[in-house]
C-alpha cells in the first residue's frame, strides 16, 4: 500500500464568545474555547496508481485529511504512512516526493511569468536541468501552456492559472498528486481540459491521484473509487456503482406522452418525482417492480411517445447519503 491512513483524529480549537457588548467584555477576561472534531477516526488505504475521489459536504474533513497527507497539519491521533513516511515528521523529504494543488489558491509567484515560476520550482525541488527541461516541455505541450508561458501569473484567467498550477505541481515528477477542488470555479472547457489531463497522468504515468471535489462529473469521469466522508467519519468507500447500490436501488422511468394525459400517469409501485408538461418521471425499486412490468402497465393505460430508464443522477445519490447521516 502506498498510502495508509489509520484511525486519524484531528481536533481544532475554536474561540467563542457570548453575543453582545457584555459578551465581548467577558471575552477579554476569559476566553471560552470549543473543540471541533474535524476527523474522528478516519481509516483508508490507497494502492499505487489508484485514482481516488474523496468527497463530502462542506466541513466534512476533506481538506483536513489532504492537509495532513500533504504534511501541512499535524494530527492529534492515528497513523499515516505515505510510501513509508510520516508526512508531518519528515515534512521536507515527504513534500519533495508529492505534488499538491489547491484549487482555491495558487502556488505560483504572483508577479513572475509562468516560465519563471517553473524555473523557481526547479531550484526549490533541486530537479536536474535536463530532467527539468524534459518535464517542462512535456507539461507545456499536454496542458497547452505555450501561449501563456511569458504571462505574469496575476494576468492569467482562472482556467489558465489552474493549468499552470497543475504543471507547477509536477515539475519534480512526484509519484502522488493531491488535488483539492481542482475544478472549482472553472468553465466547462477548462474543466474538461483538467479532467483529461488528470486521467492521462494517472493512466499513462501511473501517478496516484487523490482528488477532492464538489463536482460529481469529476467523480463520474475520473474516479474508479470514491471515499465519502461526513462529519469526520467515512461513510462509504468503494466504486461508484457500489456507492449507488448502497444508497439506493432506485431507478427512474421518464415517460413522454403527446395527448396531455401526463397528469393522469401514476402507479401503485412507483412514486412521481416530477411532472413537466407532457413528461413524467417515476421513481421505482426494480426489486419491487421490474422496469418491463412498469413500462407495460403505463403503456397499457396511456399513449406513450417516448420513454427511457436511468439511474438517479449521482448528485441525488450523494445528497441522500449526506442527508441520511445529518
Amino acid at each position: 500500500m502506498q498510502i495508509v491512513v489509520d484511525n486519524l483524529v484531528k481536533t481544532f480549537r475554536v474561540a467563542e464568545r457570548d453575543p453582545g457588548m457584555l459578551g465581548s467584555v467577558r471575552g477579554l477576561m476569559r476566553r471560552r474555547q470549543r473543540d471541533v472534531k474535524a476527523l474522528a477516526g478516519v481509516s483508508f488505504s490507497v494502492r499505487a496508481g489508484e485514482l481516488v475521489g474523496y468527497i463530502g459536504p462542506n466541513g466534512a474533513g476533506k481538506s483536513t485529511t489532504i492537509k495532513i497527507l500533504a504534511g501541512i497539519l499535524v494530527p492529534d491521533g492515528g497513523r499515516v504512512e505515505v510510501e513509508g513516511r510520516a508526512p508531518w515528521k519528515q515534512r521536507i523529504a515527504h513534500v519533495s516526493r508529492i505534488g499538491v494543488v489547491f484549487g482555491q489558491r495558487t502556488q505560483l509567484w504572483w508577479d513572475l511569468p509562468v516560465v519563471e515560476s517553473l524555473e523557481m520550482l526547479r531550484h526549490i525541488y533541486r530537479v536536474p536541468l535536463d530532467q527539468f527541461r524534459a518535464a517542462r516541455d512535456e507539461l507545456v505541450a499536454l496542458l497547452e501552456l505555450g501561449g501563456i508561458l511569458d504571462t505574469p501569473v496575476r494576468q492569467l484567467s482562472l482556467g489558465q492559472r489552474m493549468r499552470a498550477d497543475l504543471a507547477a505541481s509536477l515539475v519534480h515528477a512526484p509519484s502522488i498528486l493531491f488535488l483539492d477542488e481542482p475544478t472549482i470555479g472553472l468553465d466547462a472547457v477548462s474543466k474538461l481540459a483538467v479532467r483529461a489531463f488528470v486521467q492521462r497522468l494517472n493512466r499513462e504515468r501511473g501517478v496516484t491521484v487523490i482528488l477532492t471535489t464538489h463536482d460529481m462529473d469529476d467523480i463520474e469521469t475520473l474516479c474508479q473509487r470514491v471515499i465519502v466522508i461526513s462529519e469526520g467519519a467515512i461513510l462509504s468507500d468503494g466504486s461508484l456503482a457500489d456507492l449507488r447500490n448502497r444508497v439506493t436501488r432506485e431507478r427512474w422511468l421518464t415517460v413522454d406522452v403527446d395527448d396531455g394525459s401526463a397528469e393522469a400517469i401514476t402507479d401503485s409501485h412507483a412514486t412521481v418525482i416530477r411532472r413537466d408538461g407532457n413528461r413524467v418521471c417515476l421513481a421505482f425499486d426494480p426489486q419491487v417492480v421490474s422496469p418491463a412490468e412498469l413500462i407495460r402497465r403505463v403503456a397499457s393505460a396511456h399513449s406513450i411517445k417516448d420513454l427511457f430508464v436511468e439511474n438517479p443522477p449521482i448528485e441525488t445519490v450523494i445528497a441522500r447519503l449526506y442527508g441520511s447521516v445529518s
Binding site: 521536507i92 519533495s96 523557481m120 531550484h123
Partner: protein
Amino acid sequence: MSGYQAIVAARFRALLQYRAAALGGLFTQVFFGLVRIMILVAFYAASSRSTPMSLPEVIGYIWLGQATLLLIPWRNDGDIAEQIRTGNVVYELTRPLDLYGTWLARAIAWRTAPVLLRMLPMFVVAMLIIPPLLPGWGLARPPSAAAFAMWVACFAGAVLLSAALTTLMNVTLMWTIAGDGASMLIGSLASMFGGLVIPLPLFPQWAKPFLYALPFAGLLDLPSRVFTGNIPAQQALWVVAHQLVWTAALIALGRWLLSRGLRRLAVQGG
C-alpha cells in the same frame, strides 16, 4: 542555486522594478539630508565643547544614513502579513523548504534591492554634485581603502541584521492577527536607536553603553562611522562581530517563535 538563493534572486529582480519609487525617494532623502545637515551645522557652530564626532564625520554620517535609510525595518512584509491573516501561510509548508529560511531569503532581497537602488545614486549626489554647490556639505571619501573595505563588510552585516529583524517582525504577526503593533514598535525603536534621528555618539554619555549594546546600532550607526573613519578600520571587525552575534540571536529567536506559531496555527484550524 538552492531554493533559498532562487527566492532571493527572484525577489531582488522583482524589487528592482520599483525604479520610480527609488527616484522619488532619492529626492526626498537628499532634501531631508540637507535639512538635517543644516541643523547639525548650526548646532556645531554654537557649541564650544569638544564633540565626539567631527563636523565632516557627522555630515558623512547623515548622508550614509539617508543613503541606507531602508535598512531600518519600518514595517513587515505585506505579502507574508496577508498570508498569515488569511491562514494561507500553511500552504507554504507544501514546499521542501524551511519556512523561516524562505522568509529570511525574502527579507534579504527586500533589504538589498531597494537600498542599492537608492544608495548608489545617493553616493553620486552626495560625493560629486553637492560639494561644488555647497562646499563642505558633501560626503567625503573614506580615509583609507581599508576603511572602505570594512564598510562593505559592515554593510553586508547590516543587511543580514536588518533581514533578521524584519523576519522577527513577520513572525510576530502570528500572534497579533489584526495588528502590526510589535512591528511598529520595533520600527520606531530601530529608527531612534539606530541613529537615524540623532547620531548615537551625540547621545548623553550614560546612554551610550545601552545604545551600542542594542542590535539597532549595527543598522546605520556603526557602519556609517566605519565609512567616515570615526571608528578606525582596525576596530571595524568588532562592528561585524556585533552584527553577526545579534543576527544569530535574532534568527534563533525568530525560528523558535515561528515553530511555536505554526503549532498554534495547527491547533486553531486552517
